[in-house]
Symmetry: C2
Subunit: 298 residues, 2 copies
């Protein structure tokens, strides 16, 4: 019999009291490090260990005893309850704020024609930080966001993806299909991969590591990282930038090696991020009306 597994652990209070705690409050020594790690592409070329596995650098590793298969309660750390800081809005404010946010998000579209105009690192950092506020299964935060502004690296990523796409066009789609495409000029070429000032490559950490080096399962890691991507996409929209959500699944292993990510990380999504080109177009899609996506038991 499977059990009800809380996405965020149910029993934290109990857990705290019996001296078993969820991985948290453990990176205190690093809290003043508000910048992401940077990798100089030239360094990277000459060394394979410039980028270390995220988990091996994380203080979270210090508290890794798994108490229960479904509910990972690391030991040696007490997480005590604190009063939730909160100010209740009026109903009118709730309605207004939720409507305004909807209207802003509803203007989001996936845009493939991305300008090469630069975007400040600070904006990208705010976007990644927002992704990092997402909830995650047992507070494992199983995500790594690799941001690439280095042109050479973008070119190599583009090369990997376009090589796969060329096979797709030439071998999988069939002659008729490819012939149909020729007059339109659509090919396997993906300009945005080098034109966009930033690529964000989102990795899920399919497992972590215990203190003794053994694997620590990350439950719901794909759901967690996808939810975090929702926060991240909302943040891109709030910043006035655009992206297109892509899933280069078959390219994952090559890109993981290129970016020197450890084997416990799998590429989930790739987002080219920037401003849209002037006159950029999008397909005239409509979204499903509320009637089609919501059912209310009243």
């Amino acid at each position: 019999m499977e059990t009800y597994v809380p996405f965020l652990v149910n029993h934290w209070r109990t857990v705290g009291l019996i001296s078993v705690s969820i991985a948290a409050g453990v990176a205190l020594g690093q809290l003043n490090q508000t910048k992401g790690r940077t990798v100089n592409r030239n360094q990277q070329v000459h060394s394979n260990i410039v980028v270390k596995p995220v988990k091996s650098e994380s203080a979270n590793e210090q508290v890794d005893e798994v108490k229960d298969d479904d509910q990972q309660f690391p030991e040696d750390q007490e997480v005590l309850p604190i009063v939730f800081q909160y100010e209740k809005p009026s109903e009118v404010d709730s309605i207004r704020r939720s409507e305004e946010f909807y209207l802003r998000m509803n203007q989001r579209r996936s845009v493939r024609e991305i300008s090469s105009d630069p975007v400040a690192l600070e904006v990208i950092e705010n976007i990644i930080k927002t992704g990092g506020t997402s909830p995650s299964g047992a507070h494992t935060e199983p995500w790594t966001f690799v941001v690439v502004s280095n042109l050479e690296m973008k070119q190599q990523i583009r090369q990997i993806i376009e090589a796969e796409e060329e096979i797709n066009y030439k071998q999988r789609m069939g002659d008729v299909w490819v012939q149909d495409l020729q007059p339109v000029g659509t090919t396997w070429v993906k300009e945005y991969l080098t034109e966009a000032p930033w690529l964000i490559l989102i990795f899920k950490q399919v497992h972590g590591f215990k203190q003794n080096g053994q694997k620590k399962i990350h439950y719901y890691n794909e759901i967690s990282v996808s939810i975090a991507t929702g926060f991240l996409l909302a943040a891109i929209q709030e910043a006035g930038l655009v992206t297109v959500t892509t899933t280069p699944l078959n390219c994952g292993p090559s890109i993981r090696v290129l970016l020197n990510r450890p084997v416990n990380e799998k590429l989930l999504l790739l987002l080219p991020v920037g401003y849209p080109k002037v006159g950029a177009t999008v397909p005239d899609f409509k979204r499903k009306p509320l009637y089609d996506i919501m059912v209310h038991y009243q």
Copy 2:
């Protein structure tokens, strides 16, 4: 060889021109239906067909020929390009807006002590609509949000989940564990399932239906619905409400039947939504610093 599969279809422009189009713009007749479908619990009790499968009501079904296993291009519908409506912010604005959004999202916490104070339906509708602005694989929008304010229905959901949790406590956790919990009073009881004014049950549509009734695969449906959940959680935060993200996976089938959802829909997440109780507490978690979640190739 697998192929590079775009999360949002790559070739929409081409697709439009060769008269093959992505499911979209097809629900135009329903666009003025801005309310969710409502189900009166008493009606529901006496009839098994008050709630019809979402897909069978969706006009999307009318355009369902699958052209390619990986890229579902329904026919009979042209999606022409339109100019993307956009106003470029200044860099200062981008930085400010992205920081403000981060700060708002960073105040989000998973809260389990939810007040029974009522929350306006309009707020919930705005939240669901925001979830519906999320991108999805091939624009399939494979989500159904069931919102429950009906007390009897909440009680039945609670009964299903607590029954599973009781088995969890009594059979899986062991005597010592349960004994340890007794003085703390933590049990399998989940008050928030009936106390919260709203439950949002998020279903993924693992497949849709073609016009001829055959299954139409929804690629990336779990990733898509999880991303949409990220938008939805951000909207809950913007509205000044709280929730806790739970995954009652083993309860899915029973709850699906209770809510009269079709078999192509699987329960992914359950969110109790409302205001926090006065003095509600949360575990004193810290989030990983930017250094731990972001790697920059510059």
